[in-house]
């Protein structure tokens, strides 16, 4: 077991005018671990995800990422090009709306291959093979490799976004409601796919969801947020089955069979 965290946040606060979106948040993520951030809408989940991934700067506090060679990088003071490089290689980001990540005017294969090219791959044949392989891994018929994403269903688009994200073998993926807005049956398939890919490749994930069942299925640890604060954090099944905080009890009691 590794004793060193992959990502750590300390004392992260952020206000938008009078609204305190994040208040003194600490978080840790270990290699290969899936951490869920749950809470009602407006509790600060996405804001925290954006701060952890360097997409938004905190008012106070800091976030560090440990590179494969053991270097600690301060996510919010590192040069912008280095952060962009991180996002293109070691990290991935899966949005609720795949259109935020995909280029709708580029073929499915192009969308997957593009991320490899951004990382420096140049050999067309290899890129196309990798793209085809990732379409298969994400259960998209490889015959669709030259089709445009706008001909894809919502579930397929989400799987294409995952293919595009994982093709570079990131160590850390941020996910914001990856199954939000999909039909229940499509959700189940996607969750199962995420679960098996994350386990197979040992990817660490910070997952934002308002759906407790999603946290239960995917996450080793769960963090509960209310009003920008972390009110409870721990082993997922312990947090959900024996919630200590009043807000967590409310959250758990308002869903059936989570």
């Amino acid at each position: 077991m590794s004793e060193t965290t992959l990502l750590s946040a300390r004392g992260v606060s952020l206000s938008f005018g009078a609204i305190q979106a994040l208040v003194g948040v600490d978080a840790d993520l270990w290699p290969g671990e899936v951490l869920a951030i749950v809470g009602e809408s407006g509790s600060g989940k996405t804001t925290l995800l954006n701060v952890l991934s360097g997409r938004a700067a905190p008012g106070t506090g800091a976030v560090w990422y440990r590179t494969p060679d053991g270097q600690l990088l301060d996510v919010h003071t590192m040069p912008a090009p280095a952060l962009r490089r991180l996002h293109r290689s070691d990290w991935g980001f899966v949005h609720q709306d795949p259109r935020q990540n995909l280029r709708m005017g580029v073929t499915a294969g192009g969308n997957v291959g593009e991320r490899l090219m951004a990382q420096g791959s140049r050999h067309y044949g290899h890129i196309r093979d990798a793209a085809r392989d990732w379409l298969v891994q994400t259960e998209i018929d490889p015959k669709r490799i030259d089709d445009l994403p706008r001909t894809f269903s919502g579930g397929m688009l989400q799987r294409l976004q995952i293919a595009r994200t994982l093709v570079t073998h990131p160590r850390l993926v941020f996910m914001d409601e990856p199954t939000g807005g999909l039909d229940v049956s499509v959700q189940a398939r996607l969750l199962d796919l995420i679960r098996s890919l994350v386990a197979r490749f040992g990817i660490a994930v910070v997952l934002v969801t308002h759906d407790i069942a999603v946290a239960r299925l995917l996450a080793h640890r769960t963090m509960v947020m209310q009003g920008g604060r972390v009110v409870e954090t721990g082993l997922t099944d312990q947090v959900l089955d024996d919630p200590q905080h009043a807000y967590t009890q409310l959250l758990v009691s308002s869903v059936l069979n989570a």
Binding site: M1, E33, D192, H220, G234, Q238, Q244, L250
Partner: protein, 233 residues
């Protein structure tokens, strides 16, 4: 004794129900339980006494308020009451299995793979794990034609047997069983009794809750009384 596989010291557990005006329900008071390799201890007590609560606390599913839960894990004793979540996950993977009363089905994963996944901690290839999973499911009278199906549509008894297969295949040195035979017919109960006896013979330490006295007598070496909190004081 010092060679215990599992030991609790002064374990206390209460539930604080914030949504019911902060009422506090004390359940476990000063539980001292010892469990050794190769023995089966049956938890007994009236309904609501806290047997399942104790078992879930032993597994780290419920949080202990006071006291220690010592588990022999990889050559040393770890206290689950204070352990880091990552340590609890490692204990569950390598040292302690748990058969809950109901199977929590994972969408789209077949019965065979639910069981094979549990075997992967011990077996090195998916093929061996699947072979062992198929053999155990068959022994528990789950016909081969069901192995490839996700258990969501299975009967209660079939789901429980998948759950049992998943618990027994891991070969964990400690096994917790919460009413493992509640939904089973006599033939399948006999299989479970045989599995428990074989596990004990291999040195596996078992804590069980068995409502069926016949089964309890057939497998338990010792009874451990869980008393309702009011009586305990």
């Amino acid at each position: 004794m010092n060679n215990a596989m599992l030991r609790t010291e002064g374990l206390c557990k209460a539930f604080m129900l914030h949504l019911q005006g902060g009422v506090r329900i004390p359940v476990l008071s000063q539980i001292d339980l010892d469990l050794h390799a190769g023995e089966c201890v049956a938890l007994v007590g009236p309904s609501g006494a806290g047997k399942s609560t104790l078992m879930r606390s032993l597994y780290g599913n419920y949080r202990a308020d006071v006291g220690r839960i010592l588990i022999r894990h990889g050559g040393s004793m770890v206290d689950l009451a204070t352990a880091d979540p990552r340590v609890i996950i490692a204990v569950r993977r390598q040292t302690m299995g748990y058969v809950s009363q109901f199977l929590r089905v994972v969408p789209r994963v077949s019965a065979l793979d639910i069981v094979a996944e549990a075997a992967m901690a011990r077996m090195h290839t998916l093929a061996t794990a699947r072979g062992a999973a198929a053999a155990l499911l068959t022994r528990l009278n789950i016909p081969a034609r069901l192995h490839a199906l996700p258990p969501a549509t299975f009967s209660g008894g079939e789901q429980q047997r998948v759950n049992l297969a998943r618990g027994f295949i891991g070969g964990h040195p400690i096994l917790l069983l919460d009413e493992p035979t509640a939904a089973l017919d006599p033939a399948n109960r006999a299989v479970v009794v045989a599995l428990i006896r074989e596990a004990k013979a291999r040195g596996i330490a078992i804590v069980g809750i068995f409502h069926d006295a016949e089964i309890r007598d057939a497998v338990a070496d010792r009874l451990f009384a869980v008393t309702p909190w009011q009586d305990a004081a």
